[in-house]
Each structure stands twice: as structure tokens, then as C-alpha cells.
Symmetry: C2
Subunit: 130 residues, 2 copies
């Protein structure tokens, strides 16, 4: 559906998660989908779904945080990109929109990573309830 | 990777979003992935990624909320299941875990919907910053 344009050219330079880094980048959608961005406004927070096309074979039980953690845990208790379905979700802030291009803040994807979907962040759905 | 077992047998019975409904259901993973659930505990909130295998051809600009809204908006400003990549994310609460099966609360998926991924909800990554 689209592609990431980011300053992150090498996996080792990627922040662990976008919102912690604050890197800016651009999402370029195939022009056929541009109209679907109607109503997405600067300042909004959106979920971007990416396809981790550099993902490796998943480990099911490992030391998370790039091996820095002292305790092993299960893959589904982590955000590792190496998953059975290597799909990532990143919450980013929209800076500007120009037809089929969105400039966003909070990028964690390698340059060239495919973008699968964009969804609005909705606090009532995306926050835990008691 | 897995499948949803839910009491929702017909699309018209599905709540618009799971957390608003409070329906209980079960995720059954292929047993080969069970170890990846290590560390996922009852009471935790998790994201479940589902493949909307009943999705229709996407509309790019339409009346959201099942047509109830008075104003059209763009597809990527909605959570409609009818998307170029029909992947849904639902925040649910874990009730219990038994090997490759998780009982969860907050279900919005039709019975039999494929499950693609499970990720932990992490407030620091999954909440907007200023």
C-alpha cells in the first residue's frame, strides 16, 4: 500500500521503538489510496502497520531488549520484529499531509519498509480498562 | 498462527470494537507457538492482530460507524475492517492461559477469524505524547 522514507538505513541504527526516539520520516502511499487519508489531520496520532521485511526466524523464548534483559521471556510478551507474522505497529504523530504523503514523528522503521495500513489512534479503544 | 473462538457467529452481531463490548472469547494458537506465551499473565492487556477474512472491497471515502455518521471521512481515519490490508488490532484483557489457549475479554472477532499476532500493550509506547 505504501512505503516508509526514513533516515534509518541500517537495522543497528533503529531506535527500539519510534515514540521513544522522535525521529521524523515520511510515509508515501500509492496514489490510488490518497483519498483514504481525508480527515487525518496534522497533530493527530496514528498507528502505522509495517511489514518487517528484514525479520529473522522467530525465537520463542529469549532475552528481550536486544539481549540486554537478564530474564528470558516469551516472544508474544515482547515487541521483537522476529515474529510468525512480522507485522509492526508504531504510534506516530502526523506533522503534515500532502496528497499521498504524510510527514510523521516517532519513526522506528528502516528506510524502504513496506507500509500495510494506517489507523486512527482512539483513546477509548486503545487504552486498557480496569 | 492461531484462530479465534468467539460467540460471534454473524458479522451483524459483532460489537463495533471489542473493548466496548466486553465479550469473552478464546484464542487458540498452533501448539508450536505456545512457548512464546511465556510471561503473558492473567490481567495483562494484549494486542491481538486478526485477519479480517470476511472483509469487502475497501471504500476510500464514506459515512463511518456503519453509515450512521452524518459526515464522510477517509478510510484511514476509520477502523473499518474493509481495508487494503484487512488486518485488525484489538486490545483485550487476558483472563487465563492454558498452554496454547488464552481466554480473553473484549472480543470483537467473528468465530473462526485467523489470529496473526499477539503483542504486549506497553503504555509508554502505546499512548500519545505531547
Amino acid at each position: 500500500m505504501g512505503v516508509w522514507h526514513t533516515p534509518i538505513k541500517n537495522p543497528k541504527d533503529a531506535p527500539r521503538q519510534g515514540i521513544e526516539g522522535g525521529i521524523n520520516g515520511e510515509i508515501e502511499l500509492d496514489p490510488r489510496w490518497a483519498r483514504g487519508l481525508t480527515g487525518v489531520e496534522p497533530g493527530a496520532h496514528i498507528w502505522v502497520f509495517s511489514f518487517f521485511n528484514h525479520a529473522k526466524e522467530p525465537e520463542l523464548y529469549f532475552y528481550p531488549h536486544g539481549g540486554e534483559s537478564k530474564h528470558k521471556t516469551g516472544l508474544f510478551n515482547t515487541r521483537s520484529p522476529n515474529r510468525p507474522a512480522p507485522i509492526g505497529m508504531t504510534l506516530v504523530k502526523v506533522l503534515s499531509i500532502n496528497e499521498n504523503r504524510l510527514e510523521v514523528k516517532g519513526v522506528d522503521a528502516l528506510d524502504g519498509t513496506p507500509v500495510l495500513d494506517i489507523k486512527p489512534h482512539l483513546a477509548r479503544l486503545d487504552s486498557p480498562k480496569a
